[in-house]
Amino acid sequence: MEGKQDPASPAEALSAPYVLAYTYRRSVGPVIGRFLTGLREGRIEGVRTAAGRVLVPPAEYDPETGAAVGDFVEVGAAGVVQSWCWVSEPRAGQPLDRPFAWALVKLDGADTAMVHAVDAPSPAAMRTGMRVCVRWRAERVGSVRDIACFVPDEGSGASEAPPMPPAEPVRGMLSPVHLEFTISPGATLSRFLEGVVEGKLLGRRCPACAKVYVPPKGACPTCGVPFGDEVAVSDTGTVTSFCIVNVPFEGQTMKLPYTYGSVLLDGADIPILHLISGIPADEVRMGLRVRAEWLPAGERRPTLESIRWFAPTGEPDAAYETFSEHQ
């Protein structure tokens, strides 16, 4: 629509990093536990299925029938590459910090292949059908990484794993996960956050139900139509309900205790969640009248954290009937 720019469109769409990182504590169960315990002791064990196939690494249940698997079987520390691909630029956390091959290796005595790294000088040194053997890590902990990698077998086979002191059977493993996203809040929220930098709270009115949403969404959740006019909303409002948080947990960044509440801004039809401060926690109440405490103009960023918190205005409390429909 040439020449008819929406006055409420943002100067630029925002984006921000969003990182999720956590180290899971997995319990591995008796079968994988025994496999990992074996690796710590420098031994590779698979399991035999009812059909007589030897699965390495072992599965708890036969992938073909779902039946519980049978006896453990020790297999060789050398085997044959069944397929491979070359990694020319290793990533952080991969088994080798120089170019290497991922390979499917069928160990001597096994009927299935396992994935692991092969430390080869170049792709020219790799071929399907080649023999490789295990290079053990000296310090082993009960992890598939106790096999540092495989190496081309020059005919001498795998070297012995240096002995480790006896320890309890392996029951669990740590599994770190790290995911990095870029979050783009979209044009509507970007425009709202531009307003926040200027110390303004800009809502939008639904053309169908006339309700004012702040922060605005792309479309009215009730009517399903795009929002209409931009509406400036007051930075004063009423606490409709609240919670005093006393619980520490992993990743928490707020200082305890803190009080957060639903604040129905004057002129809006849906409350926002924000910190309530400037008043002892045990005096916060439903109906409390509050005002945004903004960061100084130069410190504001496009986030609702540019409002430090909401603090009492000193006005008399709002009557329950004025906000009871907003809970």
Binding site: A16, P17, Y18, L20, Y22, Y24, R25, R26, S27, V28, G29, P30, V31, I32, A59, E60, Y61, P63, E64, T65, G66, R171, G172, V177, I183, P185, K211, V212, Y213, P221, T222, S241, F242, C243, I244, V245, N246, V247, F249, E250, G251, Q252, T253, M254, Y258, Y260, G261, S262, D269, I270, L273, H274, L275, A281, M286, P302, T303, L304, E305, Q327
Partner: protein, 385 residues
């Protein structure tokens, strides 16, 4: 509907804070094997598997349904995963039951699970999302303001919350599977426990549990061979609504009211409080008992707490709620909804053991999830029609 759906097998794991004796696969297997044994069946008798769990963040395994196929005997069979947040255990059972009612399959295994010990649900539910302050502290932090709103609008005495905590923990003592076994629980003890998310105290919250629950569902024809009494599914429904909209009634969401109205209509129930003998409701924080009693039509608006106060909802009362001990005693999140559905079935099968409600013929299983925005319910009966 081509056939009614029957519950012919129920299996539950032992629930605990940490089942580090088992992998995720071993956990679901334990529940599934018990359900098959109850139904007198083996893996080969199952036509399809429907599995459910809460967000993948809870164990950090993406698409666990694929990873668990061999543990659940699903090799070469239809298998799917359902996900509707905390209500998933209920909606998973409903998807499985639809496969029976529609005549697609004769016997379906349905399983729901969570292994909370592998991570931290508080972390997983409180991401540091850009553009907003990091205020929300887990599910308790989210629901605390809603509980406060209920207490205000209903004018309920503050001890009602503690009474629910005591009732459900005492009931759990009769359930050998239940995670929490707190023989010394008392109202005074609940009220003296730390205030976590004011107004919610520590002993008013659900535990973090590892566990799985499974059911074998069958057509009328397949149910004829079942060794033990079936529970017949007489109504089932799911509903959802947005987490936020202007004028939303967060205390008594419309989706929950609509879900209840739908299942009651299917089951021919016009007076739920008189016609239903026992209900397993999803109550992760004590005050959700009176809130759901109202939302599901067991009590008038703002009156649900009176049923807790006068003992109506206790085991032995006129309408026992959560005789298994409920979510307040056992909470493997993804499984918690299915446990409600399965416990309702066990009551009408007469197989609930020490927490059996005498003469129970009609029971409700209920689950909710997200920001009180996903609902799943079923009505089960000892009578076919």
């Amino acid at each position: 509907m081509k056939t009614r759906c029957a519950v012919i097998g129920v299996g539950q794991t032992r629930y605990a804070a940490r089942r580090d004796d088992l992998s995720l696969a071993g956990l679901v297997r334990e529940a599934a094997l018990r359900a098959l044994e109850d139904a007198g069946l083996s893996w080969g008798d199952v036509d399809a598997v429907v599995i459910g769990k809460a967000p993948d963040f809870f164990e950090g395994v993406a698409m666990p349904e694929a990873f668990l196929a061999d543990a659940l005997g699903a090799v070469g069979k239809p298998m799917m995963r359902v996900h509707t947040a905390g209500s998933v255990g209920g909606s998973t059972a409903i998807v499985a039951a639809h496969l029976i009612e529609s005549g697609v399959h004769e016997r379906v295994l349905t399983v729901a699970f969570e292994k909370q010990s592998e991570s931290d649900a508080m972390w997983a539910l409180s991401p540091k999302y850009p553009f907003v302050p990091p205020l929300v502290a887990g599910a308790g932090g989210f629901f605390a303001p809603i509980v406060r709103s209920y207490m205000r609008r209903a004018g309920a005495p503050v001890e009602v919350g503690a009474m629910v905590a005591v009732k459900d923990r005492l009931a759990a003592l009769k359930n050998p599977y239940a995670h929490l076994q707190m023989a010394d629980i008392s109202v005074a003890k609940v009220q003296a426990s730390p205030m976590l998310w004011d107004p919610i105290r520590y002993l008013e919250t659900c535990p973090s549990s590892d566990g799985a629950c499974a059911m074998v569902l069958a057509s009328e024809r397949a149910a004829q061979g079942a060794p033990r009494a079936p529970a017949w599914v007489r109504g089932m429904a799911v509903r959802s609504e947005p987490a936020q909209f202007a004028g939303r009634n967060q205390v008594s969401p419309r989706a929950g009211r609509d879900c209840a109205a739908d299942v009651y209509a299917q089951a021919g129930i016009t007076r739920p409080r008189e016609q239903i003998d026992v209900a397993e409701l999803y109550v992760p924080f004590t005050w959700f008992e009176p809130m759901w009693l109202e939302n599901l039509g067991f009590a008038d608006e703002n009156e649900g707490w009176r049923m807790t106060l006068d003992g109506t909802t206790a085991l032995g009362g006129a309408l026992p709620i959560n005789p298994s001990g409920g979510v307040l005693s056992t909470n493997p999140i993804g499984a918690s909804g299915m446990i409600r559905f399965a416990e309702a079935a066990q009551q009408v099968r007469g197989l609930a053991g020490a927490h059996q409600v005498d003469g129970a013929r009609t029971a409700v299983g209920h689950a909710y999830g997200g920001a009180s925005q996903f609902f799943a319910m079923w009505v089960v009966s000892s009578e076919h029609a």
